[in-house]
Assembly symmetry: C2
Homo-oligomer: 364 residues x 2
């Protein structure tokens, strides 16, 4: 088992990564100091792993909230349902929530924990690759609003993150690919050596080789933990983790959080960020080719959804959280492993990038 620490003073916590670590007696219990435990999971994950977590809890009897599966349920209403269950069970401020699922379950459970009685403990047990390498670490919690993704949320750290790679076996290929998008992201923004490793090992990862997965998850979490430690509330460096996300969130919002997975939208967003960076001369055509090849091997999208025109994308991007005083800020690249935030980019070049990736463009 690998163990990293997200170092945030008295809010520090461990990230544990390994195969079948969920079955290790007392691993989970170590982070629970209450008899009031509520597991939040969804209809897909519950039949697969709920019993395993209940067994890991031993003599602690836990309640469960099983929500529908899908980003479209990451809403205030679902959060309210979790709170209702906690109140019906008379759970106090010392209770503990467990998020058992992917990014949606983790985000909404974390936000419910942040808000319930102004803050209770929670533990992340991520069950998708994307959640294991990204959303479960760093304390970003949120629900969506119909006008924008993750617009209602909190920075609120878990007590522990337990990533068991054995649960990745039940994912479908699209979910693995979408998770790899965020893995590749760490290489692109700050770890060129990791990017080079990924170029050699992407096929092993797609085949779910356990050793490759544990290594990729560890290096991803290590990168994320370093960034979060330096900048918990995203005043500076942490914003770099949003590479591809302003484009990606616009895609997700435009699709009503349906059809595309988050990682797929972010992957295309990173390609667009690379393209826009290249149009400014900040990265070489060769870098763009390496990036495009990587995403292509991972079978990630290369074009915008047909229903999203370039103008629609632009409008959706302007309400993104990375905007400041109405100015759009983007994370762009000055090389593989060198991301930066800027609002000093050419709007005409942005329009060209959006047009370049629009589905219509591909049909000519």
């Amino acid at each position: 088992m690998r163990k990293l620490t997200v170092d945030l003073g008295r809010y520090s916590y461990p990230v544990l990564i390994g195969e079948n670590i969920l079955d290790q007696t007392d691993l989970l219990k170590k982070y629970i100091n209450t008899g009031q435990v509520m597991i939040v999971t969804n209809v897909t994950i519950a039949p697969l792993y709920l019993d395993r977590v209940l067994r890991a809890l031993g003599d602690i009897r836990a309640g469960e909230v099983i929500i529908p599966d899908g980003e479209e349920y990451k809403t205030l209403e679902t959060m309210d349902q979790i709170v209702t269950r906690l109140l019906q069970n008379k759970f106090s401020r010392t209770c503990c929530l467990i998020a058992l699922g992917g990014g949606v379950v983790g985000d909404i459970t974390g936000f419910a924990a942040a808000c319930y009685q102004r803050g209770v403990n929670y533990i992340q047990i991520p069950t998708t690759l994307l959640a294991q390498v990204d959303s479960s670490v760093g304390g970003k919690t949120a629900v969506n609003h119909q006008l924008g993704k993750n617009m209602i949320g909190a920075f609120y750290q878990p007590r522990a993150v337990i990533s068991d790679v054995s649960v990745l076996k039940t994912l479908n290929d699209r979910e693995i690919q979408a998770g790899l998008a965020e893995v590749i992201k760490y290489g692109l923004i700050r770890d060129p050596g990791f990017f080079a490793w990924l170029e050699k090992n992407i096929v092993r990862l797609l085949a779910r080789d356990t050793g490759a997965l544990v290594y990729a998850i560890e290096i991803s979490c290590k990168n994320k933990a370093e960034v979060v430690t330096a900048d918990e509330r995203e005043a500076g460096e942490r914003a770099l983790l949003n590479l591809g996300h302003t484009f990606g969130h616009a895609i997700e919002t435009g699709l009503g959080y349906k059809d595309w997975l988050h990682g797929e939208a972010v992957a295309l967003g990173m390609l667009m960020a690379a393209d826009l960076s290249c149009r400014h001369g900040w990265i070489s055509g060769n870098d763009v080719t390496r990036i495009t090849n990587m995403f292509s091997t991972a079978a990630l999208p290369q074009k915008l959804p047909a229903i999203l025109a370039a103008e629609t994308m632009l409008d959706l991007m302007s309400v993104d959280k990375k905007a400041r005083n109405g100015q759009m800020h983007l994370v762009l690249l000055k090389g593989i492993g060198k991301a930066f935030v800027t609002n000093d980019f050419d709007r005409i070049k942005l329009a060209e990038t959006l047009k370049q990736f629009s589905s219509a463009a591909g049909q000519h």
Copy 2:
């Protein structure tokens, strides 16, 4: 103008108290560093003070969200409406909210600020005595859930609190009395000298004497600031501020947040806490008489609402946030100016207290 500081490191902020300070040019603007300002107020306050605040903002053009008046609107739905307005106006993470109103407006605006894009700035301009002496200071934000008051919220500090006593002139007597309940609370929990001052000056306060009000608000805020500085997240001393609140919240929840004002419910809760403390021999009958006289002079309630039986109260009290691992904790008194938290009290005596204050008891 009086100025206090709530000292919380990089989250420190000033509390400004005085007459007509809202009209001081540039006082409000000093705490705003953005062009994106949204004032949240309600239908009662807007016609009275909205223009005054807009004038104080000078060349900053602010938007406004006007919510219905009443505790029953302190809900996730109303918070969602505020967020909708922010998103419709494409407000970014650097925007600033202004809460112009009483405790409901302050709590919900603070919570919206805590959650919008995971946290934006906000300023409190409290317009009730209760909000000026209590809810606007200390960063407790929340909305209600149908199963419990303030069950969904955050600890989230404002950038500044601006308390203009001139706005208290338009309150009705009940609102002044309800505010005085929280003023008296500071005397009871930690400031016996202030309690003695209040015994001499309660009539001046009821008559809204400006000098007496400024002094009472300053000493109340000073006490609150000291407590919050020592214990921002209510791990210890801050819980003492909840004297009367476990009883009071049960009353408010039982009434569906209608009919009684928060201060009225808390006032009766403090009387019940004093009665229960006396039944344990922790305070003298003479202390109870002084406390009862004070609340009686302030025309605050002496009996539970007729629809709330002792058993109902007990059930409602058991889900209070002060409960820990299912154990009910109460703030009780070991003298005037000496509150403490305990779960080591006699349940039979609690039942006697609840019966003593039930309306049925008074009719025999």
